[in-house]
Structures are given as structure tokens and as C-alpha cells.
Symmetry: C2
Subunit: 154 residues, 2 copies
Amino acid sequence: MTTRTTTGPAMAALHERHQREDEAAGQQGDALYSVSQLARQLGVTARTIRFYEDKGLVNPSRAGTTRVYTSRDRARLMLILRGKRLGFSLREIKDYLDLYDVDPTQHAQLRQLLAAVRKRIAKLQEQRAALEQSLAELADIERQSENALKLSTK
Amino acid sequence: MTTRTTTGPAMAALHERHQREDEAAGQQGDALYSVSQLARQLGVTARTIRFYEDKGLVNPSRAGTTRVYTSRDRARLMLILRGKRLGFSLREIKDYLDLYDVDPTQHAQLRQLLAAVRKRIAKLQEQRAALEQSLAELADIERQSENALKLSTK
DNA sequence: ATAGAGCATGCCCTATACGTAATGATTATT
DNA sequence: AATAATCATTACGTATAGGGCATGCTCTAT
């Protein structure tokens, strides 16, 4: 029941490219990657990338059933990973990317991004405050523990 | 099959105390509490307290099947909540409390605590660094977004 | 032709800290 | 006695971000 088109050639190309993965990669922006290639390059597992797809964050083309990623897909994934590093949830990242897809004129989503970023900044500032407080408390506990040990040892 | 002892009196005492929960509470350290009383006082749900028991963090006495908490139990719970605020996992908190229970001479566990605290401090310092970096990046994104919006609006 | 890569799908598993019923027993109140 | 309020136990659900395994297909190399 699967619409199976010309699977062979693309897979072949993919495999061949795989052989010289570390070469200059054809000087064009038309580079293609398999999941695991991309995974290696981005420092995540293939499972992760497929997971993102499942969550609607990426949508690679297929050669038959095999996922084929373009450099655009790659860039998108890097965006996703950056978002993650910055502490956004996959859901938030998806929402932003969706907006970006719908409206490439870059207006609505810039505002959206700005809003999200500011929200995130506020959250982080709160977190930082809490963290500082924890650190202070812990320093206190540390000092007290040290004192208690000193006294009982003497 | 449950060893059911004199359930009545204790429950009665508990409930009666419930009526004047906000009173001076009998000036002794012998105050007793029910789960939900304690929950209210500590700002958590009864479910939470029972969950902690399930995880072996507290072990209240029982009046029949009903949990009865002493002020010692209460203090222990406050310790637990403090640990949580400081970012320790329930598991870590349990390990520490267990140590404290076994060896109340306060030596091994003091060292243990000190070690755990220092570890936690190190972790928090790392987190803080990461957080600062995220904030810097976000500030950058914010600036860029603002600029882009300004330019396209003008 | 047959093994070995690499890929795909599907499904269950993990950790953390509880929330949310469902169901039953006991106690207090009316 | 009936009803409301608490309490208990059991057990499934939630959110997040994947990990890991089984099974099966395709393509390449020997």
C-alpha cells in the first residue's frame, strides 16, 4: 500500500556520499544527508532526529522510505538545537518554526520571537535569582558543617 | 488481615485538635497532626506527603490506619522541603536522612552532607554559567530582532 | 547468494514528582 | 439512621525528551 517510487538511485547517491562524508561536499548548498550522517554532524542520535520529525519539527523529503535531508533541513535542525540550548521546549520551538513557515515575510514571527525571547529572559532572570539564593544558603550550610566538624574533631 | 488496634481515641484526638488548629496547640512539643493538617501548614498537598512516605522519606506512626505526625515528623518534612527548594532530588534527600537516622552521632553524615552540598554548589555554579550564557545569547537575539523590526517598519 | 550496513516503523521503558480518580472504611454531625 | 468529611489504598495518568529493542526491507560488497 506504500507509494513506492524510484527508491534506488537516491539511496545509492546517499550511500556514495556517505563514503566521502568528510570531503568538501560538492561546493553547492545542495548537500544531502541521511539521518545518521546528520546526527553525527549535529551531535545527537538518529533517534532524536526522528523524534523531532514525529513531533512535527522537521519534515525531510524521502527517497522511498528513507529520509533525505537538505542543507535547509540541516539549518532547521541547528535552529532547533539552539532553541533547546536556550531552554525552550520542543513545543515552543515548533510553534515558532511553524510561524516561520507560514509567514516567511518575517514580521509576525519576529514579534513572536521577540515576545518569546523576552519571556524566556524573564524566566531565566528569575531562575538566576533563585539560584543565587540557593548558592547562598548552601554556602551557609557548608560553613556550618565545616564548623561543626572542626569543633567535634578538636 | 490488618493489625487493627485501638483506632478510635487517636482519631478523635486528631479530629478534635483539627477544630482548634490555629490555637496555641498545647504548648508542648507533643503536637500531633493529620496528613491534611500538615499539608496545609507546609503548603503541599496530602498526596505529596503520602508520596514521600511511599518513597521512604517519612514514617509517621499510625492510629489504626490513619497517619499521625509528631512535631519531629513535621520538622523532618520541613527539612525535606528545604532540600527540594535547594534543588536536591528526593532520592538525595532520602539518602541523607537515612544516614542521619542510622548515625545520630553526627559525624559520617556531616561529612556526607558537606560532600553533597559541595557537589551541589559546583553543579549550581555550572548552571549559573550556562544560564548567563543563555541570557547573553538571548539578549543578542532580542537586539537583533528589535533592529530587524525597526528597519522593516521604517 | 548471502552477509552486513544502514534505514524504517512500532512499541515499550526511563526518570521525576506528584495529580486524579475510584472505592472503601471510619468518624463526626444532624 | 443518613449524610458529610476525612482518611486509606490502589492504580492509572501526565509532561519531557528521548533510549533501546525487535522486526523487516533495501542496497552494497564479497
